[in-house]
Amino acid sequence: MKFKLLVTSVFLLLLSCGKKNKNPEPEPVAAFDKQAMLTNMADNIILPNYNAFKISLDSLISAYNVFQSSNAITDFQRVKQQFQTAYLHYQKIDLFEFGPAETVIVRMNFNVFPTDSAQIKTNIASNSYDLEAALNLDAKGFPALEYLFFGNNRTENSVVAGFNSSPNQKAYVSAVLNNMFTKINVIINSWNSSYRTAFINSLGTDVGSSIGFLINQMNYELDYLKNAKIGTPLGKKTLGIAIPDKCEAYYSGQSIEYALQTLTLIQQTYSGGNGVGFDDYLDHLKADYNGVPLTTQINNQFNAARNKLTAITGPLSTAVVTNASQVDAAYLEIVKLLVLLKTDVPSRLGVIITYQDGDGD
C-alpha cells in the first residue's frame, strides 16, 4: 500500500508539474476538509446526543427507584414523564448504529416494536429470564417499558396497584432499565476512549469509512422512518389495511413526535447542525439537481416531509385509520426525501451504499 501510494504520488506529481507550468490555476480553492466535518459530527452531534440520552436515562432510573420505594402515584407520574423524555432522547441516537453502537446492536436492544406483551408477562410471572437472549429482544427496551407504564387502557391507579402488588414486575423494569444503562455506558466509554479518534481519522468514502457509515445509516434511518414508523401502521405492507398497534409508542401516543425527532436527527446528521456537514460538502462540489443546487432540493424536501408529518392530526394510531390521506401525504414526501438521500447524495459523493465489500469492476 505504501509503495503503491508512493508510485502514484510521484506519477501524479510529475503530471501536475507539467500541467501547472503551462496553465496556472487562477485561484486555488482548498479541498473540502472532511476531517473538520467528521469532527463536528462527533463533537457537536453524536457525543452530545449520547450524553443527553444517558442523562435522561439516568433520570428515569432514579425516578423509578424513588417510585419503587414510595409506591406513590405522583412518583409514578414522574417516572412516566422521565420515560417519555428518555424515549425522545433515544430517537437522537438511534441513527448512529456503527462502531461501538453496532457492536452493542442498539436498535435491536432498545427499540423493537411492537413489543411482545405475552413474552413480558411470561418473564414477569416466571421471574427468570435472560434479557440477552434473542427471544427477549421484543420484550425489553423502551417498548416493553412503555407497555408496562402506559398499560392497556388501564387507569393510572390500576397500573400503580399492579406494580405495588408485583415485586416481579418491579424487578423486571429494573432489569430492563439496567440492561439499557449497561449498554449505553459501553458505547459512551468506547467513544471517549478510542473510537472518536478512529472516527475522525477515517477519511475515505468506501465501505467501513466514517462517511460511508454516516451516509448508510442516515439512509437506513430514513428507510426505517418510512417503513416501520409510518408505512407499516398505514398498511403499506398489508393491502392498505391499517395496523394501528404497529405504531411506535402506541400506548403513549407519541408516534408522531418521535417520527419528527427521527427526521430532525437525519437532517442534523445531513447538515452537521450548525457546523460543517454533508450539505457543505455537496455545495463545495457544486452538486446540481436538474438546474438547482442539490442541497436546495434536499432542504425543500426535508421541509415538505416535516410539514406533512406535523399536519397529521392526533396520535398516529388513530390517524392511520381516520385520516389515512394525511399520513399518506407525509409518507409520499418521505419517499421523495429517501430518493434524494439514497440515490443523489451518495452518488454525488462517491460513497458506496452497501454493507458488503466487493470486487468492483
Binding site: 503530471l15 480553492v29 408505512g231 442539490l294 430518493v339
Partner: protein, 446 residues
C-alpha cells in the same frame, strides 16, 4: 496474400516457455483469487444467502447448489487451479475450472464483472493450449517427453485476448461524458481529497480530464505497444503504473494484479526461457531426454475456429447499436463489452404488488428478498427489474394474490445528474419479456 503470410507467421515454431509461465501464473492467481473469495465470505453472501438469483437470458436453468454444494464447487475450483499450476491432469483441470467458474458467474448477474468474464475466456482458451507439455506433472509422469516448440498461434491467441480487453476498454471511453465532461472521474476523484501529498489535486477539474484522456489513450494504444518488440518494455512499465493507480483509487480487488502479472505474455521469449530455467532449477527438474519438437496441428480448422472466436468478441461490444435509447441509461448491450468503471450510476426502486380481485396494493420491502448488492444492482438495471418482478409475482401467487400485478417506481442518477424517473411506473413488469431480442420500451427515454 496477407492472410497467407499471417498464417505462415502464426505457424512459425516458437519456444513454449511463455505458455508454461502463463499457465503457472494464471493458475496461481486463480488460486489466490478463489481463496480470497472464500475467505471474505462471499460464497455465502452471494450464492447461499440470497433468496432469489438473477439469471442471464438463456441460462435461467443455471441454479446454485445449496450451502455445502457451493463450497464444494469452490473447493473444486481451488483443486483445478492447482492442477493448472502443476500441469497435472491439466486438460481436465482447465475444463473443470472453466465450467465451474462460468457456472458460478452465470448464477447471478448481480455479480457480473468484466474481469470475471475475462477469467472465463482465458480459462476457456487454456483448455485448448498444450501448456502442460513442458515443466509439468503430466509430461513427467505420463510421457516423459518435453515439447519445446509450439506454433506462434498458441502464444498469439493469449496476446490478442489481452489486446481486446485493453482496446475495447478504450473504445468504450470514446463517449461524450468521458471525454468532455470528465465523468465519472470528476465525481470519483474528489473522494480522495484526504490522501497525503496528492490529496490537494483530487478536486481539480483538469486532473479528472487528464485522467480521462490518459486512460482512454492508454487503453486504445497500449495493446499496440505491447505487441511491438521494441516498445514492450516501456509499455509494460505503463501497465504497472496504470493498474497500481486504479487499484489505489478503486475497489477493484484482484483485477489489477491479474492484469499486471499476465501481461508478461507479451515479453520476448528469452525472458520466459530464463524464468522457466530458474523454476526448473528450483524444482530440481531433471532433464528430460525425449525432446519432442513436433509442431501441433495448426491447420485451417484451427484458424477458422480462432477467427470465429475473436470475431464474436469484436462484435459483441457493438451490439448495443441494435437497441434504441442511450446505452448507459438502458444498459441494453452493456455487459461483455469491457466497459470498465465507465459511469457513476445509482438508483432507488420501490416495488408494488397489486391483488387483482381486491384492487389493493402492497409495497415490497426489497431488503426482505434481496441482498444489498442485489438491490443496488437491480435498481439501475431494467433486465434485473423484470427478474425481480417475476419472482415477486410467483411469491405473491403463493400468498394467495390473484393474478398479481407488479410495478415499480424507480429513480436513477447517472454521472452526477439529478435523479429522475427511470421506468414507466404503470407497467406490469412481471409480464415484460427479458428477451435480448426485444428492446425494453418501458424504460423512460433519457
Amino acid at each position: 496474400m496477407a492472410i497467407k503470410s499471417l498464417h505462415t507467421y502464426l505457424r512459425q515454431p516458437v519456444n513454449i516457455a511463455p505458455l508454461v509461465i502463463f499457465r503457472i501464473a494464471f493458475g496461481a492467481l486463480m488460486f489466490l483469487s478463489i481463496s480470497r473469495f472464500i475467505l471474505k465470505g462471499w460464497v455465502y453472501n452471494m450464492y447461499i444467502l440470497p433468496k432469489m438469483f438473477f439469471p442471464y437470458y438463456g441460462f435461467e436453468w443455471v441454479k446454485p447448489f445449496g450451502g455445502v454444494g457451493m463450497y464444494i464447487v469452490f473447493a473444486l475450483l481451488l483443486i483445478a487451479s492447482i492442477g493448472i499450476i502443476l500441469g497435472s491432469f491439466y486438460r481436465i483441470s482447465a475444463i473443470l475450472f472453466f465450467v465451474l467458474f462460468t457456472y458460478v458467474e452465470l448464477i447471478d448477474k448481480t455479480n457480473y464483472l468484466n474481469h470475471y468474464y475475462f477469467v472465463s475466456i482465458i480459462s476457456f482458451i487454456l483448455i485448448y493450449l498444450p501448456a502442460n507439455t513442458n515443466f509439468s506433472i503430466d509430461n513427467k509422469l505420463l510421457k516423459n517427453t518435453e515439447v519445446t516448440l509450439v506454433p506462434r498461434l498458441f502464444i498469439f491467441v493469449l496476446q490478442l485476448q489481452m489486446f481486446i480487453v485493453y482496446f475495447f476498454a478504450g473504445v468504450a471511453k470514446l463517449n461524450y461524458d468521458w471525454l468532455f465532461e470528465a465523468q465519472p472521474l470528476k465525481i470519483w476523484l474528489p473522494a480522495f481529497s484526504h490522501l497525503p501529498v496528492i490529496g490537494g489535486l483530487m478536486e481539480k477539474e483538469w486532473l479528472a480530464f487528464l485522467f480521462c484522456w490518459i486512460g482512454c489513450i492508454y487503453d486504445l494504444l497500449i495493446g499496440f505497444f505491447l505487441f511491438n518488440k521494441r516498445t514492450v518494455n516501456i509499455a509494460y512499465f505503463f501497465v504497472v503504473i496504470f493498474h497500481l493507480a486504479t487499484s489505489l483509487f478503486f475497489n477493484i480487488g484482484m483485477f489489477p494484479y491479474i492484469m499486471i502479472t499476465i501481461t508478461i505474455i507479451f515479453f520476448r521469449e528469452d525472458f520466459h526461457i530464463k524464468i522457466l530455467n530458474i523454476l526448473k532449477r528450483l524444482c530440481k527438474h531433471s532433464r528430460i531426454e525425449n525432446k519432442s519438437t513436433t509442431l501441433f496441428n495448426c491447420g485451417k480448422p484451427v484458424i477458422i475456429a480462432c477467427v470465429i472466436f475473436f470475431a464474436i468478441q469484436f462484435l459483441l461490444p457493438f451490439r448495443y447499436l441494435l437497441y434504441p435509447g442511450k446505452l448507459f441509461w438502458t444498459e441494453q448491450g452493456y455487459r461483455f463489452s469491457w466497459r470498465v468503471m465507465l459511469m457513476e450510476k445509482a438508483g432507488t426502486a420501490f416495488f408494488f404488488v397489486k391483488d387483482k380481485t381486491s384492487e389493493r396494493e402492497i409495497e415490497i420491502d426489497n431488503k426482505h428478498y434481496l441482498t444489498y448488492m442485489q438491490e443496488k444492482m437491480m435498481a439501475t438495471q431494467p433486465d434485473m427489474m423484470i427478474d425481480y418482478a417475476k419472482f415477486l409475482k410467483k411469491e405473491y401467487e403463493h400468498k394467495g394474490f390473484t393474478d398479481p400485478i407488479v410495478r415499480a417506481q424507480s429513480y436513477v442518477t447517472i454521472n452526477g445528474s439529478g435523479s429522475r424517473q427511470f421506468i414507466d411506473d404503470t407497467v406490469d413488469l412481471s409480464k415484460q419479456s427479458n428477451s435480448i431480442f426485444k428492446s425494453k420500451t418501458w424504460v423512460k427515454s433519457y
